[in-house]
């Protein structure tokens, strides 16, 4: 077959090699299954494919009932955090070539949130703790209706935590969160950090009080799973440590 192609278009690049990878997916259909079960799929893939492409291939060509969330497919929307080979990753940012394809690839839903179907979990508890930290600018009217000024240095102070896409990879990688769903979780603290250290914001004391709670920053055990899981490379544990220090000092 490859020679036939070569005859027609001698200038064409060599055919890109494909290979077969095995995905083992933890599936759960609440209408049928009492318990989740593992299911194997063999997929033909390019090295440049991502885990999300493999899931698409399965859904479109093999089993249309496979259920997962995705929207942007480019690491922006934060829909497709899942556990890939035992670590939380975005399926759309995990290249197949970075995984060991001689072994099967394990894919399952993120941990610690109620499983709804296949790779989908109920994100409400996650967003509830996000809402609790007042994730919006709290500031009174400006003098004379002018803009709020901020120097580049002041902006840089919280730059890292502005990058969060609320994918829940960090919160659902946290051993404390697995056992205690009441814990605010890294993502909520990251988004509190984003406003606490914003020089324009006036509500940092409110947020520090909320996070000084029993289920707040003091539950953090510095396992660094969150920092490792964050697809945006946010230094999550460091941000939590900074909030801890701000609470002790009583100001950001």
């Amino acid at each position: 077959m490859s020679t036939a192609v070569a005859d027609k278009k001698p200038a064409a690049a060599e055919e890109i090699p494909t290979f077969t990878a095995t995905l083992i997916i933890r599936r759960f259909d609440p209408d049928v299954d009492e318990e989740p079960r593992w299911e194997d799929f063999d997929v033909e893939l390019y090295a440049t494919d991502r885990v999300l492409d493999a899931l698409h291939k399965i859904k479109w060509e093999q089993d249309g009932s496979l259920t997962f969330r995705r929207s942007c497919a480019h690491g922006i929307c934060g829909s497709d955090a899942m556990r890939i080979n035992g670590r939380n990753r975005l399926a759309c940012k995990t290249l197949i070539k970075d995984l060991d394809i001689t072994k099967p690839i394990y894919v399952e839903a993120i941990k610690g949130l109620p499983l709804e179907k296949d790779l989908i979990v109920d994100m409400e508890p996650f967003f509830d703790s996000y809402k609790e930290i007042n994730p919006f600018l709290m500031a009174g009217a400006t003098k004379g209706g002018k803009e709020r000024k901020q120097s580049p240095v002041e902006r840089a102070r919280f730059d890292d935590t502005t990058k969060c896409i609320l994918c829940a990879a960090c919160t659902s990688s946290c051993p404390v969160f697995w056992t205690d769903g009441q814990y605010f979780g890294p993502a909520a603290i990251v988004n509190a950090h984003r406003f606490i250290f914003d020089s324009r914001d006036e509500g940092s004391q409110v947020r520090l009080d909320i996070l000084n709670d029993k289920e707040g920053v003091w539950r953090c055990r510095t396992t660094f799973n969150c920092t490792d899981a964050c697809p945006r490379g946010i230094q999550v544990t460091q941000a939590i440590a900074e909030v801890k220090q701000a609470i002790i000092k009583g100001k950001p």
Binding site: G86, P175, F224, Q238
Partner: protein, 145 residues
Amino acid sequence: MPEKSASNLVAEPQSPPKIRSPKRPAGTLYRGNEGMWSWVLHRITGVSIYFFLLVHILDTALVRVSPDAYNIVIDSYKTPLMGLAEIGLVAAIGFHAINGLRIILIDFWAFGAKHQRTLFWVVIGIWLVLLAGFIPRQLMHVFGG
């Protein structure tokens, strides 16, 4: 057992199996890095130190109740088995103490959070040096008479 359940299938609703499969088949183990394993070790050593302290407070309190009973208990600690358990105790306290310092550095020093992995191996290094100094002496003490 298999024949029985086969006949059950047709006639009546299945009786619940004796050995139930686990509620949720375990997912894969979360593969954390040094940070997670240091936390696991910190927890294990912490809980074991807690139980040691509990027993230790009880046996010390015994001296108020009955000095004879106290002596018997303390003598039972002088067996080789207890000597080995003491090594475990020193190892647990040593790790918990040194890793505790690491956690303080992580919480209060940006450098600590950035280099927590290196710090973990530093902790393990100091810990091994501590044990290398202690274990031979303890073994000599226990078995050398």
